[in-house]
């Protein structure tokens, strides 16, 4: 007899649809699992997603100045630049009133922002404000605000200031990104390159990439044999070696960097030894610190463990019999290494490489201390604008570009090696 195969929904013994029953049975577990990860999720949102989102917003945000000069900007948009050389009377009037009755602190903040788009704004507004205050006190409002302002400061008749204001009218601005790659607006609001002596970022970006690639490469070259030793020595020795690898982790980054200064400087340990051995002349001492060389040496040493550890964890599980098998099958030791051992370490090399590269590209303290003028990386500029110029918009734009570069490399890596090939242990 043929058993009819039912195409209908499967039912449980009690006649409830199987899927529904399963869902019900699983619901409690799912809820429990969600509650278990919820604190972590919250933590990630608060400490990771939100700050990055905030940074990305800040990099294009230009809303603050809009709250200070809302009417001025409203009127500004009506100005037909083709027809009139200067804005109409309404713009001058709105600006006059908003400077006269605006909140002092808000205006002060806006000034900083205005100065990014054109230097000179700060003094112009300040002198104007003083004149306006006088008028307001005496309640002698002028007939023509335009004439009054131009009389106060002739820059109000200079269209370039008015053009520069155009950059700030919208609530979002790409200016920070342009600045981050040495671009700016000219007087007619076209995007142009910065003047030659003000170009700093593009070359710093290129240097950051170069240093990161070199550091990654040096770490790989130096870390591979160490990881190999770690994975193959008897436990007694490999434990000791592991302590040496990890020792730097237990020492402050500042101390290690300073130690490198002591080692590398012109009157330092290495130069001293070389001179003492007669390899160098006393006046031919190498300059290895406060330049790019110093940055490279110190960063390689500091980031080396991040290469060794993933490599080690991958090498440790490669059976020793593989090298033996390869030789038994007729491969010379070098061939066996190249064809059998090395390909199996790719997950470790890529994990270590990506880790070191990502850390290197955003590195700050070490290049700042040993890099001198020549060895500074993009991280130093971010810190500079964050602490000194308070140009947080530019900071955010630099940070966002950094994030973008990393994502591009990650994407490239995934294309070439495959992200499932990564192995940290």
């Amino acid at each position: 007899m043929e058993v009819p195969i039912s195409t209908a929904e499967l039912l449980t013994t009690d006649g409830i649809p199987l899927k529904q029953s399963l869902k019900k049975a699983e619901r409690k577990n799912k809820l429990r699992a969600f509650l278990l990860v919820f604190p972590l999720l919250l933590f990630i949102i608060v400490t990771f997603v939100m700050p990055i989102g905030d940074m990305l917003l800040r990099s294009v945000d230009d809303a603050q100045i809009n709250t200070v000069f809302p009417n001025t900007f409203e009127e500004y948009k009506k100005w037909d630049k083709e027809k009139d050389e200067l804005p109409p009377e309404e713009v001058y009037k709105a600006l006059f009133l908003e400077l006269a009755y605006g909140d002092k602190i808000q205006v002060g903040r806006a000034l900083t922002r205005m100065n990014y788009s054109k230097s000179g704004w700060k003094s112009l507004i300040k002198t104007t404000s003083r004149a306006i205050k006088k008028v307001v006190r005496k309640e002698e409002f002028p007939d023509s605000y335009k004439d009054f302002l131009i009389e106060t400061n002739e820059n109000w008749a200079n269209p370039t200031f008015w053009y520069a204001m155009g950059q700030m009218v919208n609530a979002t601005t790409p200016i920070y990104y342009f600045n981050a790659i040495d671009m700016t607006y000219d007087e007619n609001q076209n995007v142009i390159r910065q003047e030659e002596n003000r170009r700093v970022y593009v070359q710093t970006w290129l240097k950051t990439l170069k240093v990161s690639v070199y550091v990654t490469f040096f770490c790989l070259v130096l870390g591979f044999p160490v990881a190999h030793l770690l994975a193959n020595l008897p436990l007694r020795y490999s434990n000791l070696l592991m302590i040496f690898v990890l020792l730097p982790f237990w020492t402050s980054l500042l101390v290690r960097t300073t130690a490198w200064i002591v080692m590398l400087q012109q009157q330092g340990v290495i130069n001293g030894i070389l001179v003492w051995l007669g390899i160098l002349n006393d006046d031919g001492r190498l300059s290895m610190v406060y330049n790019e060389t110093g940055t490279l040496i110190a960063m390689t040493q500091i980031l080396l463990p991040f290469m060794i550890l993933p490599l080690y964890s991958v090498m440790r599980v490669i059976p020793k019999s593989h090298m033996r098998a390869a030789q038994n099958l007729g491969a010379k030791p070098a061939t066996a290494f190249w064809k059998v051992y090395l390909p199996q370490t790719i997950p470790g090399m890529s994990a270590g490489g990506l880790l070191v590269f990502v850390l290197a590209i955003g590195y700050f303290i070490t290049p700042e201390l040993v890099g001198g003028k020549d060895g500074k990386l993009i991280g130093s500029w971010i810190a500079y604008h964050l602490k000194t110029t308070l140009n947080w918009g530019l900071c955010a734009a630099l940070g966002a570009i950094l994030l973008g570069v990393m994502l591009v490399f990650y994407w490239l890596y995934n294309k070439i090696v495959g992200i499932d090939n990564i192995k940290l242990g």
Partner: protein, 365 residues
Amino acid sequence: MNSGIEKTFVKFEKIDKSYDGEVLVVKNLNLDIAKGEFVTMLGPSGSGKTTTLMMLAGFETPTNGEIYLDGMPISKIPPYEREIGMVFQNYALFPHMTVQENLAFPLEVRKISKAETKEKVQKALDMVELGEFGTRFPAQLSGGQQQRVALARALVFEPRLVLMDEPLGALDKNLREQMQYEIKHIHDRIGITVVYVTHDQSEALTMSNRIAVFNDGVVQQLSTPDILYEKPENSFVAQFIGENNRMIGTIKSMENNYCSVELENGAGSVKALKVNVGNVGEKTQLSVRPERVSLGSEGNGENVFTGKVEELIYLGDHIRVRLDVCGNNEFIVKVPNEGSFDYNEGDSIKLNWNPNDIRALDLPN
């Protein structure tokens, strides 16, 4: 037995091996293996058998002595020039290469042409019945399939000799037995010399032409499976291969091939075959296989004893009876299940065995 066995092909001569200069792992090993022979090194772990294999493969250096392959000393030849195939314990298949690439590896390093390589690889895969699996990666194969790939890889470059280091250790029991026959058949078909290492005695008995039983770095006995089982030369071999009942006693007298042994605790006197004993008055261990003991007082009237049934274990084709005989309550007798067995635990039972089946051996250390 294989008819191709004529002259010595592999020769171990006075081989000693020590790792630390204090303990000898292999002591004065002398072993001749003929061409086409399947020789198994059998022994407990730490007995020196794997070390011996590794010295033959070239991964360990003998501390003393020389190994000859086809008449040539090979101690100075590096492993990659020895032309010896090897199946490793955990197969050592290269995980980043497909099955085909794994098999092609030994051919590629020998600069064999692409076309020939392809043909040989396919032939080797067909031999182990994995012709369809060439493009898979080792991780996508079952344990048994991986084992076959390892075997094919060890054979594909037509080595002079194949070594196998516990190749079936990781497989489950059924698969292991199946692979034993398969390896044996491949050996019969292509007639290659095989040196096989295992600690599993049934594996050794199934597959080998000859077995070398290792213990403590020394070959205890080297002979064919049947002789090894039926005529063990010392107490270690008797104990390690198969099951046996042991009794300890003192030699009272010797006469031709036999000796008379007074058991401990005054449990009686046994007439046994004189195999490996000292002089009258010295102690000896007697060994008799459980299947060579018969119940009842028939036989030729020698070595008749009475025992008490301690335990009965029903095993289908036979019944395992544990008895208390001559003060030994671990005495096992295998009774074929002929339907007439009607003893119960606690019963007294007569039993006897032929003096030719009980061997007087040395005392174990």
